[in-house]
Amino acid sequence: MKKYAATHEWVSVEGKTATVGISDHAQDHLGDIVYVDLPEVGKSLKKGEVFCTIESVKAASDIYAPVSGKIIEINEELDSSPEKINDDAEGAGWIVKIEMSNESELDSLMDLEAYKKHCEEEG
């Protein structure tokens, strides 16, 4: 089950591993993505910290860690095919996998309904 941050990242949990990406709404907003500045495996993250930058033709967006932990895997395909995020932001366009250090952080994230509403309100 996916949870969403107010800053448009999603988290999908399996055991202690959180797969993270940006929402379909976010990718649509960014436009054609041309580059993903991926972090390195092994990097420790704090919730809310910027861990990645996604560049489209006309904008660059900071991506914030929705949970704290250590990066155990990065989606290296994004190096050669950043457009994967446009094509399938919430699936094959995942960005990193994090080994969570504090699972309770998931509680403050939104479910799909709440996130949809949040997007509407943001205008």
Partner: protein, 482 residues
């Protein structure tokens, strides 16, 4: 076809005087690894081929010479050819920066006089002509601030305040001088919100960067209050002179209380944009900062002009030599030609032209802010999206089909789907009317068949380009195998 595709080995357009060689070969003195084995791959064409190639390229460009160019914040006024003629005079273009000062008194006099003229126009005490562009001038301004507070021992001043409507070079320049940038929001009237400013203005602020009129074309009428607030906290006030074209002869940033000012000679002072440069970004300061200016400074002792490098507290240099002298000449010639009365008139006509166009266009799409504007104004394209399903970008691209360069789009960031229009004073009423008429026509097209706009441009050398692939897999040079 690129010029390399037209190359044929063995062709050249270049012949030097026939001379005997003295017989020195690089292999005599240079180590082997320092000598080129192959000539660099440059084009090999006849002179006529070169002429045709570049002539062909020129035909694919829009320019001020060819049509209306109402780019907000760029001041695309006519580039007088007198200025080109003067800059091309042998005594100006063929002089070396390291010639003995006695042999370049004319050049130094031009610089000295230009500096003085700019002081008079802006109400500042001293000018440096060294920065090569507006952004370069902003960097100098920020470095001056840094040095100023360093000398005063106020090392806590690490922040610079910038309006949310500011040009991107403002925060970028502040960061290059080691400052942290804090944004101050604009209020509903498009001006700096004083309440918000008060909240963030403390003794850790080195300065505030402002443009006046601001980037939405409005005069910051609370500038006196802002100036007082800043100086009371010991902060400096920086003026981005990009919009000076609105107020020449009517108001001076020095009188408004600004401590540092940069000008864009390639905007306000008619020097040509040259496809993106060279420009020139002179910086003016009040006396408290004059000893910190970049070296050298041009001095006059009553009979002779000279270059003074002896400024122990100078921030140093931001480039080699003295500045874009070739550009100074053009700006200076412009100031001489228009004169004080002409500069004032130019600003008046710039503001009148803008208001006229605003009055006409506001009947078609809403302006971002009500009331009079100065030399430029911002339109809100969001209605286009909601009513016709087309974006500002689509309108811009369709304008290209009519031989008109679109206004600035998507800047400033505080207006959604923005179009920023600056006609400048050198346009006739007919040109303004033609633009308004074309705009109206395009909106009509949007209503009937928005796809016309979305497919635009159709009449230009190329249509909309795939920028995504271009930035994903950048191909930034020609190579044989492609």
């Amino acid at each position: 076809m690129t010029i390399f595709d037209k190359s044929t080995e063995g062709r050249t357009g270049f012949y030097l005087p026939r001379e005997e060689s003295y017989g020195y070969e690089p292999s005599d003195t240079l180590p082997e690894n320092s000598v080129r084995k192959e000539s660099p791959l440059l084009p090999q064409l006849s002179e006529l081929q070169v002429m045709r190639h570049f002539t062909g390229l020129s035909k694919k460009n829009h320019s001020v010479d060819s049509g209306f160019y109402p780019l907000g914040s760029c001041t695309m006024k006519y580039n007088p050819r007198l200025n080109e003629r003067i800059a091309g005079l042998e005594g100006f273009s063929q002089i070396h920066p390291y010639q003995a000062e006695e042999t370049v008194q004319g050049a130094l006099e031009v610089m000295y006089n230009l500096q003085n003229s700019l002081c008079e126009i802006t109400g500042m005490d001293s000018f440096t002509l060294q920065p090569a562009a507006g952004a370069h001038g902003e960097l100098v301004g920020m470095l001056l601030m840094k040095k100023y507070f360093e000398l005063k021992g106020e090392n806590n001043r690490r922040k610079v305040i910038v309006p949310d409507s500011a040009h991107g070079t403002n925060p970028a320049s502040a960061v290059m001088a080691g400052f942290e940038v804090i944004e101050v929001p604009s209020n509903g009237n498009g001006r700096v919100d004083l309440g918000s400013l008060e909240e963030i203005l403390d003794e850790n602020v080195a300065g505030i960067m402002l443009t006046n009129p601001n980037t939405v074309g409005l005069f910051e009428n609370e500038i006196c209050e802002i100036q007082e607030m800043a100086h009371k906290k010991g902060a400096l006030l920086y003026y981005d002179g990009a919009n000076l074209n609105a107020i020449m002869g009517h108001a001076r940033p020095g009188d408004m209380g600004f401590d540092i000012v940069h000008l864009n000679l390639h905007k306000t002072f008619s020097t040509p944009h040259g496809m993106g440069g060279p420009g020139s970004g002179p910086v003016g300061v009040k006396n408290i900062l004059k000893d910190l200016l970049p070296v050298p400074v041009v001095r006059f002792d009553g009979s002779k002009f000279s270059l003074d490098y002896d400024l122990p507290n100078s921030i140093g240099k931001v480039r080699s030599f003295y500045g874009n002298f070739g550009v100074f000449l053009k700006a200076y010639a412009y100031i001489l030609t228009l004169g004080g009365d002409g500069l004032k008139r130019a600003s008046e006509m710039a503001v009148l032209n803008a208001n006229y166009l605003r009055a006409r266009l506001s009947k078609l799409i809403p302006t971002a802010y009500p009331g009079l504007c100065m030399h430029e104004f911002v339109l809100k394209g969001s209605k286009l999206v909601s009513e016709y399903g087309v974006k500002t970008l689509d309108v811009a691209k369709r304008l290209l089909d009519y031989g008109i360069h679109p206004p600035t789009i998507y800047f400033p960031l505080i207006v959604d789907e923005a179009l920023m229009v600056e006609p400048t004073e050198t346009e006739t009423k007919e040109a303004l009317d033609a633009f308004a008429d074309t705009f109206e026509r395009i909106l009509g097209e949007a209503k009937d068949d928005p796809n016309i706009l979305k497919a635009a441009p159709q009449k230009t050398a190329v249509g909309r380009l795939d920028e995504a692939t271009a930035s994903r897999k950048p191909k930034t040079r020609w190579s044989k195998d492609t």
